[in-house]
């Protein structure tokens, strides 16, 4: 390397360091109105949360920034979460907004290691919405709740004028019970941990997008929406070294890896070829110019696992029909802190960043 090149390399490094400092700085909300990206689960969502919600509502449980809060009530450890569903269309191959509303909340509870117990359901309905469609949605909710072993124990219904909502929105909240002393969380992740994905990614997001019928693309795909609790229960029993779980919903696998890299202050190296992706999903993503690693799933999760327990964890997942394709997709490392690197299928290396903007609005 010549002296000139060395100076340039030093300058580049200085610029990159400045960028990392900027990225760690408290995000500033520049928009004066809500834009779609604020709901996409990526950087804009984080910015909105940090700028608007956290300063006013912040408390230790909220500041854990997990998908559920865990707290003690009368000596019991309770997990509590809520989620709102605005998916369009309401019905798609493999499920409906009803399935998502139950499974989404059940899964957020399960990711803390809790046993999901009781759910609430709130409906915002548009004047003129067909009762037959509402019945279908509620039937799906009933079936999903039975499959997950939870009960919907309270609810609410609101109707707004025609044109003021798009058919039907559903909110659910849920509580679950944490049994035993074991706690999971991104702060428990250590360098050297293996990162496991529980199955093929991207099915749900691509299915919903194709179901909109705007793209003239067809593929034999169905949403992956399921209750993850049975798989999580068996995983936690089989592998005491599981440190953290998160379901790969909005923002996909890539966003979770970034959240973990930042929360645990470690680096992550992931292997693109190791991530299970169905050929139909890859094909659709290739045509549309989106990366399957950013596409939402509704029945897949990531696990950070002590390397000593990887085989036990994989064996436990492989015993479930929905965990057959579970695979190690990468590892945490000491360096570079807060950054996710992807070894591409082509054999190169690049940064895998958080989702920016929203390639697929209203996917859940």
């Amino acid at each position: 390397m010549s002296a000139g090149e060395a100076v340039a390399a030093d300058r580049e490094r200085a610029v990159l360091d400045a960028i990392e400092r900027t990225r760690r700085a408290r995000p500033r909300l520049k928009e004066d109105r809500v834009v779609l990206a604020h709901g996409a689960g990526g950087k804009a969502t984080h910015t909105l949360i940090e700028a608007v919600f956290m300063p006013v509502l912040g408390n230790p449980a909220l500041q854990a920034r997990e998908d559920q809060a865990v707290f003690e009530v009368g000596g019991a450890s309770i997990a509590f979460t809520t989620d709102t569903f605005v998916v369009s269309p309401l019905f798609f191959p493999g499920g409906s907004i009803g399935d998502l509303a139950i499974n989404g909340t059940v899964n957020d509870l399960a990711m803390s290691g809790a046993r999901p117990l009781y759910l609430s359901a709130g409906f915002v309905l548009e004047e003129g919405f067909p009762i037959a469609d509402l019945r279908r949605i509620v039937a799906d909710m009933g079936a999903a709740a039975a499959a997950a072993g939870v009960s919907v124990v309270t609810g609410d219904t609101k109707v707004v004028q025609r044109g003021k909502a798009d058919g039907c929105y559903v909110n659910t909240a849920g509580v679950g019970l944490l049994e035993g002393e074991r706690r999971l969380g991104a702060d428990r992740i250590r360098p050297g941990d293996a990162l496991i994905v529980s199955g093929g990614v991207g099915d749900h997001g691509v299915t919903v997008m194709l179901a909109r019928g705007e793209l003239d693309l067809q593929a034999d795909l169905a949403s992956d929406t399921i209750s993850l609790y049975p798989m999580v229960r068996d995983l936690l029993t089989a592998a005491p070294g599981v440190r953290c779980l998160r379901d790969a919903t909005r923002g996909g696998v890539a966003t979770i890896l970034n959240e973990w890299a930042v929360a645990a202050g470690c680096g992550i190296v992931a292997d693109e070829d190791a991530v299970p992706v169905r050929a139909e999903v890859r094909g659709a993503c290739e045509i549309l110019g989106i990366d399957p690693l950013y596409v939402a799933c509704e029945g897949r999760f990531l696990a950070a696992v002590d390397p000593a327990d990887v085989d036990a964890a994989l064996a436990a997942l492989h015993r479930h029909p929905d965990g057959r394709d579970a695979a190690v997709i990468g590892h945490t490392k000491e360096e570079p802190p807060g950054l996710v690197l992807l070894r591409t299928g082509f054999g190169g290396t690049r940064v895998l960043d958080m989702l920016i903007g929203d390639p697929l609005p209203r996917i859940c």
Binding site: I19, P336, R350, D353
Partner: protein
């Protein structure tokens, strides 16, 4: 995935990489410009630079359709969208491009109806489905996308869809390449030619690059092995002391282009005397407007546009990046004030923009990445 995985094979890449290293003359460094933003995206997305010796540098060119749209045109489009009863349609990449008064996303948050489409024909469908609305398609892109706009104009005329119009921002690649070749900052050893543009215009129009400017150009495909093979072809020419137009992307690009597509463009569009390119300024005969025969479908005639030239922010160095004069990270605001979430310049917006590609995928020096992975 068939027809894709073959062009992403790591073992073949190793072979090409060894060939490239062998072709490089010791002590010499090479700067090749990939003209097209699609190439820039491929290079970063697949980590292609890991296969290149440090003496071979790829310089990002002006061929990113979104990047070259000046702020004033974004403002004009928003002015159209904010007219009563208008649906503006555009490609998804346009939504976040900042104008003088925010982006399309900001305009939709204020109440404008701006919709993303994957094809101009989808915009025409929206027009047919909404006869009480005026539907405008914001056409952007080089010769690659111009034919689909041309076909849509033809169909709109044939079907008499009189509530449809096109806000034409199509640009042509050759004047931009010529502007770069004429620039006093030019320090390039050759070009990776734009594959998709060439499917339309063919390879012949690049002959002036070899004949008058004595630089080799290889029309390249968009998979990572296409690019490595094209670098091999460029280095072979230099090694043999030749400068010629060569076609690596023969599976798609005919030497004479696509006459049907060229006819459709010629029928529906005409060259503008000049057009402003973001960062590059006004370039003569570098853009297309809707042909007078299709005036009824020309949004620039139908709507009153502010047409105000908005100067780029002073801190923005998109022009130097688009000309390949500086690396993205050498821009003063790169990655600090200007990021993909809050872009100042267009190069940070599109996935084909050099700054966005570098920020999203390459925000790490190659040497450092190798150390981290090895460690």
């Amino acid at each position: 995935m068939r027809f894709v995985d073959e062009y992403r094979d790591a073992e073949t890449a190793q072979v090409a990489s060894a060939q490239i290293t062998a072709l490089c003359e010791p002590g010499r460094s090479y700067r090749f410009m990939e003209v097209c933003g699609g190439h820039t995206h491929t290079i970063y997305k697949h980590g292609l630079e890991d296969y290149l010796p440090e003496s071979v540098q790829l310089v990002h060119g002006p061929g990113c359709p979104v990047c070259v749209i000046p702020m004033g045109r974004v403002d004009d489009a928003i002015a159209i969208a904010e007219q009563p009863g208008v649906i503006l349609t555009c490609f998804g990449d346009m939504m976040r491009v900042p104008g003088g008064n925010g982006s399309f996303f900001d305009a939709t948050a204020r109440g404008a109806d701006i919709r993303m489409v994957y094809s101009p024909l989808d915009a025409l469908k929206i027009a047919k489905a909404n006869p009480d609305k005026r539907v405008v398609f914001m056409a952007i892109g080089f010769e690659t996308t111009a034919p689909s706009t041309a076909i849509t104009l033809r169909r709109a005329a044939a079907d008499r869809v009189d509530n449809f119009s096109v806000f034409c921002n199509h640009v042509t690649i050759l004047p931009a390449i010529k502007a770069i070749l004429d620039s006093p900052d030019m320090r390039l050893d050759g070009f990776l030619g734009p594959g998709h543009v060439s499917t339309v215009i063919g390879c012949r129009p690049y002959e002036f690059i070899a004949a008058d400017y004595h630089r080799p150009i290889v029309v390249a495909g968009f998979e990572p092995l296409d690019l490595l093979a094209s670098v091999v072809m460029l280095l072979t020419q230099l090694r043999e002391g030749r400068c010629a137009v060569e076609n690596q992307y023969t599976r798609v690009v005919p030497w004479d282009g696509n006459p049907l597509a060229l006819d459709a463009i010629a029928e529906t569009m005409v060259l503008r005397p000049h057009f402003e390119w973001r960062g590059l300024g006004f370039i003569s005969h570098s853009a297309l407007s809707v042909h007078p025969d299709y005036a009824a479908f020309d949004a620039e005639r139908i709507f009153e546009l502010p047409g105000i030239r908005v100067a780029d922010p002073k801190s923005c160095q998109c022009g130097e990046v688009l000309k390949g004069v500086i690396n993205p990270w050498e821009c003063k605001v790169f990655g600090t004030a200007c990021t993909p979430e809050t872009p100042i310049g267009t190069c940070m917006v599109s996935s084909e923009g050099a700054c966005a590609a570098y920020y999203n995928f390459g925000r790490f020096t190659r040497r450092r990445v190798r150390q981290e992975i090895a460690g």
